[in-house]
Symmetry: C2
Subunit: 402 residues, 2 copies
């Protein structure tokens, strides 16, 4: 094509999209061929997926056509799956073709972490992508419909087990408390027949979160009918429910697995050294030993120097990494040697609990109830603003604040 | 309670509801205790069920609270299932109680006819009631959702087999041709992946209907992607599809059984002589040998004297029977011996084919396309008018005519 360098970005999640958008805005998109590779022709909001999973939001609201957000006269887009990265050959193997790169950005996101527990892949649902959450929503609807239709009632059809009470698990169960009364009305089912059970192996819900806020969240969710089983590992997931650590069987036709994530398996399968699928990156976000490969988002691992533990992978960090990554790509193309060091700035964390309820920490302030909920929606809208400006906020934003 | 005679009406379908409504309007509701028994606290439009089954109408539009249509200060309502009629003791056994009657109206409707074909009950869905069609709709949604979510695609998830090309089967497959493009959009599935197959044992679609109109219907539905297998009995329904008479297996996760109906099994189980669950009634609609029992709707059998064959059970006949039944009950209570003779007046038959398409015969006129579709909607609205006047038409009517 030309003798411009090829920048290939793998994955159109938070990191990949913002990297592409930043390059598009800068001279780098003239000085290099920028190619974005993604399985789907759309980008979606991973952090919103608990809502369509519960059925409180249509899945289309969480996604947007890549061609409507990026200018595809400036960024090449290839819709394909990534099979392998051949770093020594500077090549990426896709499902139907190969791509050569001069600079590579790995932003392939995460997959659910099963911890080797048997039956998770076969019998549990994951809040992973648009396809998987659409299936959860329809599965739950179908359980309710079938329950109404059967002469002999099997109450496990109306029991939803959420495995994992981390961020996604708590946000999902919160949405379910909003959705269940609607489902009961739609399917002529008494509310007391429906059980929502949150099962967590750790001794607390939302490990690492402020204790007072966790208390607030648990009280609120319990008052809305959620049953918590804390300190209770799951031994096995079966077709008819979960076997708990105390050898009791919790019968359920709907087990949703939210116990955390690991980096996309392409990373390990391509021979990179990784912890739970995540590459511990250099300060400039490059993979150790590779001057031409940047890793951002859930495939990257960054140590919090204050706690000496890894930062949990979040959209917030992925987005901030994308800014640094785009700046560093531009610098390399311009022949500069000095790269920018990535410094995460954790602005806050807010977990929605369904409806107008949420808990959060912003700076040193604790928030709960409606003010936390408004903050959560503002955070969600701010991302849309970064990506596509006011028009995208108007189109896909959360504009009902109470 | 009183020494007024007890009239008990079993079933709140077309026949039972109109009988109750007519009694309510007449002096009979003062001169007798009128009790209506029904499994649900709502009445629904059996003839509309193909629409919520396909997902082109919400199921709530087909149903209405009995308490909002009847005046329950004049008609007693008991929500219960009917277990057995003890005609010699003039008693009806319900799920939780027994009722004594002086006059009984059997309007218990129909159940699907399986013709003893193995696997129908286990593996096929029925367009039978609100619960069953809600389940069909959600089952189809779930198949589409799961197909999108799976890495390996199983096309039988997108194949819908409609067993029986009588009235309900054709109307249902017609609705599906409307619904499938919406489903494909909702679940990101190419239209050509979806198969709609109508399987009929008889040598023709819509047996007994005008040949020219049948031709019109088949051409239209084929142009919308329906595949017909005529003259093709089904040997067995299995979990993974239907085994056809030529020993080929038609793979499908969704088999909907619409090969006709038989009278409610309570009739035969209570010792009445019946053909396919239907009692051949006297000219005044009473069961042979019982002066105090009327049978209307799908549990009754009436011979068409022109053809010497039974009239197919339709809402039209059930509604007309209800008028005669209510008049005869009033006459008996007033001590009259002469009862009215039932004379069915077949005004016409219209089958919808989805969207604004239909075929029909009204009087000696053949109708097709939009004019048949408008006629069909007028017929549906006329029933609502008979039952609940203009307010019910406004609330539940089909008011978009094109």
């Amino acid at each position: 094509m030309s003798n411009k360098p090829n920048i290939v970005i793998l994955g159109a999640g938070y990191g990949g999209m913002i990297t592409a958008a930043r390059l598009q805005k800068s001279t780098a998109s003239k000085d290099a061929n920028v190619t974005l590779v993604n399985k789907n022709d759309y980008h979606y909001q991973t952090t919103w997926l608990h809502e369509p999973a519960a059925g409180t939001m249509h899945h289309d609201k969480t996604r947007m056509d890549i061609s409507k957000v990026l200018d595809l006269s400036k960024i090449n887009f290839v819709q394909d799956t990534v099979v392998e990265i051949k770093a020594e050959e500077k090549k990426v193997v896709l499902g139907t073709m190969e791509l050569d790169y001069d600079y590579l950005v790995i932003g392939l996101g995460a997959v659910p972490e099963t911890f080797g527990i048997p039956g998770v892949k076969e019998h549990a649902f994951g809040i992973t992508n648009v396809d998987s959450v659409r299936q959860i929503k329809d599965h739950i609807d179908y359980q309710f419909a079938t329950y109404s239709q059967m002469d002999e009632k099997h109450d496990e059809m109306l029991t939803i087990v959420v495995a994992g009470a981390g961020f996604t698990g708590v946000e999902f169960v919160g949405e379910l408390t909003e959705r269940v009364p609607e489902l009961c009305k739609e399917y002529d089912i008494p509310r007391e027949k429906v059980k929502l059970v949150s099962v967590e192996a750790a001794p607390t819900v939302l490990p690492g979160f402020d204790e007072e806020l966790v208390e607030y969240a648990m009280n609120l969710l319990e008052s809305r009918g959620v049953e918590f089983k804390i300190n209770m590992p799951i031994k096995e997931v079966r077709a008819d429910g979960v076997l708990l650590n105390d050898d009791t069987m919790l019968k359920s036709n709907t087990v949703v697995w939210t116990t955390g994530v690991r980096g996309n398996p392409v990373v390990e399968n391509s021979g990179f050294e990784a912890m739970r699928g995540r590459i511990k990156v250099e300060k400039d976000l490059r993979a150790p030993g590779y001057e031409d490969i940047f890793v951002i988002g859930d495939c990257s691992l960054i140590i919090n120097e204050e706690t000496e533990r890894p930062f949990p992978p979040t959209a917030q960090i992925a987005i901030q990494q994308a800014y640094t990554c785009a700046n560093n790509l531009k610098a390399l193309i311009e022949g500069k040697k000095e790269l920018e060091v990535f410094n995460p700035e954790i602005k806050g964390t807010v977990a929605s609990l369904g409806g107008n309820e949420a808990i959060g920490v912003v700076g040193s302030r604790k928030l709960y109830g409606n003010s936390a909920s408004v903050m959560k929606k503002m955070i969600d809208n701010r991302y849309l603003y970064l990506l596509g400006g006011v028009p995208l906020v108007m189109k896909k934003g959360k504009l009902k604040f109470y």
